[in-house]
């Protein structure tokens, strides 16, 4: 594999890791947000 092959592989792996982490983070943030609003919503209903 030529040197540009290795460079592509290295940058590709790094990009995959960083983008992958970003999406995982976004997903977890969405789920936490949903769980939070559910709890807050429920909390609200009980108080009124």
């Amino acid at each position: 594999m030529g040197s540009w092959g290795f460079i592509g592989l290295a940058y590709g792996v790094a990009a995959a890791a960083l983008v992958g982490y970003l999406f995982s983070l976004r997903g977890r943030l969405r789920d936490a947000g949903a769980a939070l609003s559910a709890l807050e919503g429920e909390g609200g209903r009980k108080k009124s």
Binding site: F6, L9, A10, Y11, V13, A14, L18, Y21, L25, L36
Partner: protein, 229 residues
């Protein structure tokens, strides 16, 4: 808690800086005299290990703060920068190994810097597992903080041990006490890429901290609901 203004600006800046760094590293910078084109992997490998060190230093500071003042925010930052630090250490390992394959023909050499990166990776993966296994969040935060402090004191000793143990690779040019000894043409892309990855790391830590705080808030709400239930 939506994405904060700080988070968004950090993210944008990081994107810009990484783009510039990519251009400089892959296009503008001259190929290395001895290694040729493949030396460009350095613009990714060295900045990612330095960013990981920065993230783990933040974990150390936040952990010490947590133990001192028991401030939940410090704990959130500690676990967040540890997790992001592990991601960057993983990248450093992968790129280091690929660089090793291209220059020495082997995926893994017990070269000083690669070995240190591997040790760092195992210590902080252990940190994340310890936090996951501890049932009770306060215990997870406390144990994690202690481990982060142990890790912080351990790293310089690891450096010493591994440097003496063996150094195939040229001694890490950037962190050498004498300061960077490589010619400016290579230095500028290196520093730009470093700035890019540091900003990106900052962005990830800010977002991950926000996630941790949302989880903390959800736990508090479940608690409140328990009280009124």
């Amino acid at each position: 808690m939506g994405p904060t203004r700080v988070g968004r600006t950090l993210g944008a800046l990081a994107g810009l800086c990484v783009a510039v760094g990519l251009y400089l590293g892959l296009v503008a910078a001259p190929p290395d005299a001895t290694q040729g084109e493949v030396q460009r992997i350095m613009y990714l490998h060295v900045p990612s290990i330095l960013t990981a060190y920065a993230a783990f230093t933040a974990t150390f500071v936040a952990s010490a703060l947590y133990l001192w003042r028991r401030d939940a925010r410090a704990d959130a930052v500690a676990v967040s920068s540890a997790e992001v630090g592990v991601v960057f250490t993983g990248i450093a390992l992968a790129t280091g190994s690929i660089w090793g394959k291209s220059t020495w023909g082997v995926w893994w050499t017990w070269d000083a810097r690669l070995t240190l990166t591997a040790i760092l990776f195992t210590i902080y993966v252990g940190y994340l597992m310890l936090r996951a296994f501890a049932e009770e969040p306060q215990a997870a935060a406390r144990y994690g903080a202690v481990l982060a402090i142990l890790g912080f004191f351990d790293i310089p000793l690891n450096h010493l041990a591994v440097q003496w143990w063996r150094t195939l690779h040229q001694p890490s040019s950037l962190i050498r006490p004498g300061g960077p000894s490589i010619d400016p043409a290579l230095l500028v892309p290196l520093l730009v890429n470093l700035a890019g990855l540091l900003l990106l790391c900052g962005y990830y830590v800010v977002e991950r901290t926000r996630l941790e705080q949302m989880r903390q808030r959800a736990m508090a709400l479940r608690l409140m609901r328990g009280r009124r239930g």
